[in-house]
Symmetry: C2
Subunit: 411 residues, 2 copies
Amino acid sequence: MKRNVLIIGAGGVAQVVAHKCAQHNDILGNIHIASRTVEKCQQIVDSVREKGSLKTAGELQAHALDALDIEATKALIAETQSQLVINVGSPFINMSVLQACIETGAAYLDTAIHEDPGKICETPPWYANYEWKRRELCEENKVTAILGVGFDPGVVNAYAALGMDYFDSVSDIDIIDINAGDHGHYFATNFDPEINFREFTGRVWSWQNRQWVQNKMFEIKRTDDLPVVGKRTSYMTGHDELHSLSKNLDVPNIRFWMGFGDHYINVFTVLNSLGLLSEQPVTTAEGLEVVPLKVVKAVLPDPASLAPNYTGKTCIGDILKGKKDGKDKEIFIYNVADHKEAYEEVGSQGISYTAGVPPVAAAILIAQGVWDVQKMVNVEELDCKPFINLLNDIGLPTRIKDEEGDRPLSY
Amino acid sequence: MKRNVLIIGAGGVAQVVAHKCAQHNDILGNIHIASRTVEKCQQIVDSVREKGSLKTAGELQAHALDALDIEATKALIAETQSQLVINVGSPFINMSVLQACIETGAAYLDTAIHEDPGKICETPPWYANYEWKRRELCEENKVTAILGVGFDPGVVNAYAALGMDYFDSVSDIDIIDINAGDHGHYFATNFDPEINFREFTGRVWSWQNRQWVQNKMFEIKRTDDLPVVGKRTSYMTGHDELHSLSKNLDVPNIRFWMGFGDHYINVFTVLNSLGLLSEQPVTTAEGLEVVPLKVVKAVLPDPASLAPNYTGKTCIGDILKGKKDGKDKEIFIYNVADHKEAYEEVGSQGISYTAGVPPVAAAILIAQGVWDVQKMVNVEELDCKPFINLLNDIGLPTRIKDEEGDRPLSY
């Protein structure tokens, strides 16, 4: 039974992870939070203590760590006796943290694919460029590594895998992510702008007719009438989950759709067209070398600051289409989360909440031995039923909508 | 008779000034061009030589100069024996260059009001904050200083003063500046973006009912059916000329209107709302201190680069309304300039052309003794008839439209 969690990262998602781990520290053991800026970790520790989130008495400590430094990360894992490492830092650090886990035997969990700071939208499948190169090493060392176990990727991969059981064959999986929330600002991103915009500035990869297809951002859209959030337009977007589902599920068409309002698209289009979202440096007339995207990040609201006044809900789920007993069938498996409820429970907005709760559920399942598979996997390769049941209990209930109606889903 | 011109600045307007001075060097004498970056001055020199713009043999030289350094500027005026200084550099250097002229006796000409880099939209009248504080000193030293003698301010001040003669009383002067040109880029500014945006990021001052009135940018608009460029929407904008015309002409309402397309306004609004047009520094996550506006400038096209492909025309003029013989009367005095013709003649686009030709006309009038007034003046305080006649001859013809039709205007 693995115990003691090291959380790497100190943003909005790390805040949720820390609170949720604290609520289950009878199972998870001691909790350590590490990032470059120890003050940000300490703020999370203080927030957990203020809200009284710790279920039982136990260690809860902040640490300064440069997670690109593998030796330092190994030393902290050893020092804190952590057997569970939840990496919710920037996607630039995945490979270093994974290496530290492989060398120490700690289980590794993350919520996004590794990225090279100088590249965007690399050749698919993205996992093959980085994480999957360590599959054999994980297996040899009996290291449990669960990749992409946030909401999307993560829970939506579980929805896809479990949804397959309702069909004889599935032709289409469309993952839809709608944030119908309102933060009250002229413009803001829900995650680190630097990471957030990188999702949209390059090519859009989708899996269609069992092939990778390229499109431009905002080129293809759809409108769905969804539970709770109503009629919403979403745009085909490149996203992590396609890069494992396309390999692991026998489905010819898998696409990801992100909801955007016209105002968001307008602001994004202006910034992008001017080159202000570029990760490549420019030189000012005074000779200063600056990455425009970092300046945009500096003028935008800090995503963490949005939480207190965020209202409205998110709706994220999978539409599956296929055949059952010779007839066409369609189902929607989804979750609805509420920004205000998330803030009241853990001090973060709903986007961070949906991303931060699932890796804690996964850590609990590893701690309990259910998911301690001692190899590298994506979520859809696991038995997803206990995951969904646990999420139902700890804040992210799943529902299913099909020809029999709209109802809670559990196993 | 004053001779020999020192041009300060090396942007698009300086390029026009240099070519036009060269075309009249029989009257103006030697030509010297100075700016911080001597290479940019040399490029202008090369362009003048390539086009064979020099009317007679004469000196034409590039110099490196920090025009904020009064002693260095005085030394260059002395060394080049310049009696005419045309300041078309950044508006941050006006007061230093003016001081150098006062101390050397050279005539001073500029095309925009002095600005403090750290302030925008100061208390009106703007001239009273800076230049007019040197009026007495100019008079004592018999220094000719002609302020704001570009097109707007400059020629439009002359239009206002001359237009008064058609009325018994004038109630309204509306100065309208329309650029109906197309540069083919997603977005670009026609001047240095840093200076250009400063015009629109603060309050809009106008002179109404003999008082200064404040509005917001893009708050008030009008649509006019104008000669050549047709139906155009323009927005009330704060602008230099109001700050002298309101003092020098007996007119209760004087407003400035700048034409903007919906796309320009959208891009401007996005950048401004996000804080990317701010002249105040922000700090990136990495600790780098950057002025956002300087980064926007770095990603936008260099205004000088727009010229070769610029097509279309500008229309700038004054609508005057008032009474004549007890009846309502309205006239429009205006110029239409063509971007492509400007480029073919002097290698700059039409906006730079309209701004750069007038100070050369003024320099010629000083050299000829007509405008060598040996004190500080704004254009409307001078006899504007020879100015209009000279502009008719050297590339900026004036027309008038009233109840008698639309026709050339000369005296």
